[in-house]
Amino acid sequence: MKRRDFVKKAAVSSFATLIGTELVFGSQMIDGYVPLALQDPDPFKLFNKHKDMVVLNDKPWNIEAQAHLLDDKMTPNSCMFIRNNGLVPEGIDPKTWTLTIDGESVKNKKAYTLSDLKSKFEQHTYQLTLECGGNGRAEFDPPAKGNQWTIGAVHCASWTGVRLRDVLEDAGIKSDAVYIGYHAVDKHLSMDPKKEPISRGCPMSKAMQDETLLAFKMNGDDIPLIHGYPLRLVAGGWPASVSGKWINRISIRNKVHDGTKMTGTAYRVPCEPVAPGEKVKDEDMCIIESMPVKSLITYPKTGAIIKNGKPLNIRGHAWAGELEVGKMEYSIDFGSTWSICPIEKPVNRLAWQHFSATVDFPKSGYYEVWARATDTNGIAQPMLLPGWNPKGYLNNACHRIAVKVI
């Protein structure tokens, strides 16, 4: 087969997966002709994303925000990062969709339709902070493998659904239950039907929290396809990979779930600190649970030029995984001095909190405004990169914006 013919066939078959149907006469497609939908696979239109969102990867789709896009108290879809491990599922029919609860530690294996879930269980709405475990990976040295997220893989949207706890209890939980693991309908990049792109989960204690939802609404509407339509597990404060999309099965396990990206080095950090670049054995890597304390200055956008003598109003959000942010500070002299600024209480547990300050600059020149949050256990964000780890997770170093006073 000529290479170009091969490429053409490959393009046709990937096009078929994209639009979810076989291209009739695809192999007879004229040389040089690219199907309309492939000519411009514009993710911004496809997923209704803001034009300033940054595409890190288009197969699978991985798109992040920039700090100034996250200024809203509740993140709109247009500015929510996308992290996919596999291919976006197609042909979802909410009428026939079912969620099965199974596993070694379920009392009665049970399946629920979406309308079962909506009618049988009480519905709840929470704003929940979801941050990718690898947010900030781009800064690690030596570099860590994977999508090079900078700061934009975090959002706090409003999620409506039923409590996972209520559904698990309805099916019945055996006393030896340890963990839950989710399964979803997205396809592996290799198209191997036996492979799951991702199947993660959390300990029973997290699964049973009030705020851990099986969500069918995001910001008041159906969840957009790219964010998990029709059903998403949402576990705020933990790596966003726990919040599985397109969920059709949850297994109650009698051991730590061993699905794809639960084992090896995925979403794990060294159990004990290591030197940058050090090799770490798989058995010395521990699963990430709560995300660390972190904050973002979302206003103004970095690069502001202001007039000397004029104060600058800044604002942003701070979050602390399972905890709350207890203190918020900013510095304009690279950490020599810090000023405390007010931080609001979260609207509910696991929602990010908002801060604002009015900053005065003593004279003209180049400045950076650095923000530092401290959690209720007294743990603060580092100004430098936190402990190096092989996969580049948990970078919660202080965010900063550049300001010029003239």
């Binding site: 040089g32 002709y33 990867n57 288009d58 030596p142 570099p143 999508n147 090079q148 970095t302 502001a304």
Partner: protein, 158 residues
Amino acid sequence: MSNDEKVFRAQVRKVYRLLMLLFVLFVITGGGLMYYMANPDIFDFMSKSKTVTLEPVEVDEDRIENGIHVRTGLVDAEGLMTVVNNCTNCHSSKLVTQNRMNAERWNATIKWMQETQNLWDLGRNQEVIVNYLVTNYPPIAKGRRMILTDIDWYEFED
């Protein structure tokens, strides 16, 4: 010369002519087949006229502009097409160019993809691919914190 010998010689000549004829036929058919293998479109008169009419819109999928392979965004350098053909089928080239590693870590990454992601045996191409990556996308030293770069300065109005 005996009569037997004459007959024999005549038969030999006959056989020789026949063999020559067969050989010539073989060469013509064989050559024709070889030509057809190399030019499978020779009898496809329909598609030939199509090619002529569509020539102006044909775009080279592997065209290079300003040293960049347009379709993938990869740098045009030794090993480019080996990387394109082996590393951009399952995932985007963006995943390749985002990651900067040394040869040891690329080899480990390839091994991981073979063990878990259905990547095929790359054979001798593996060296070509890894050389291309470490030469064109070497790791950048970042230290414990980088300075802010590429700042898009703007007049701020509150």
